[in-house]
Symmetry: C3
């Protein structure tokens, strides 16, 4: 197993790597739509989702992979009914015709309560 | 990676495949107990759980696998104390002596708020 | 796939193995900080986290693996802001410089409501 790190995506404050790679599988830690330089979350929901996917692209690239290698995503939102439509728009723009397996649940908090993030994503990618 | 689709199980409304297969691993998207033809959730909890597992069987079959290949399940319920006993009964009837790893959490919503689904399941199967 | 069982870690009450192994991958079921003999949760948050990791070590050992093989963890807490700092302290003491991918969410219940557990962990390990 090797950890993945890139300055082009936000780092975690706790003992958390951006991702790890083991045997062709890439496990990405909790992804947020924060900007890697400012560390801030965009006010706009769509911009937040786009930034989250930009962060994912950078982390996958640092692991030698691309969005087409994503096989599964766990999606967590604070308000599923309000924010899922715009998240799905950003998803389709990002993945194009690629369709990872996914599930989505609503949770009260995912560790970014202070800046009121709308989206958290957990990703598994496979590059054999 | 290839997507899995069967008419014998419900389709997702958003950009979500029923499952994907990559390198012998099958990732099943969020499973619900809705009926593939009516698109409706059974009123009875046990019937809902049974329908969910029927949907799983169909999706696994479309991926060339069976319930015995399931290695891990994430279980999400709206009311864990109320609905877990009946879910576990359906689980044992479905899996028999096969015992996938699993965890269960209670969440306020998993994207089917309108029809008040009790159960959502996320599954990983392995057919080397 | 083979199930993993050890008397040195708590057993589940429902139809749930402690873990399963398939093709070098180890999927650990919901882990709690309960003591394997008393079945009780420690009153102190740090002791609860430490017991959870002790349980993990025992289950991984029964699967022929060790903490260094953990690649991914899903963390569930009842009160993320209150309990995450102490959990992270226990995490760092346990894993040392090893850094699995992880995410953490807050949920209202994870099936141990009666004894008011603070932490639940879900783990994937890889020993090729």
């Amino acid at each position: 197993m090797r950890p993945v790190h890139t300055e082009a995506a936000p780092s975690h404050t706790g003992p958390v790597p951006q991702a790890v790679v083991s045997g062709g599988w890439i496990f990405v830690s909790a992804l947020f739509g924060t900007h890697p330089e400012s560390g801030r979350r965009p006010d706009d929901a769509r911009t937040e989702a786009d930034q989250l996917f930009t962060n994912l692209t950078e982390i996958l690239a640092a692991a030698g992979a691309s969005p087409d290698h994503v096989v599964r995503a766990g999606i967590f939102m604070r308000d599923l009914r309000r924010d899922r439509p715009v998240f799905n728009e950003a998803w389709v723009d990002y993945f194009g015709s690629h369709r990872p397996a996914r599930s989505a649940v609503e949770v009260s908090d995912f560790g970014r309560a202070d800046d009121d993030c709308r989206f958290m994503l957990e990703v598994v990618a496979h590059k054999p």
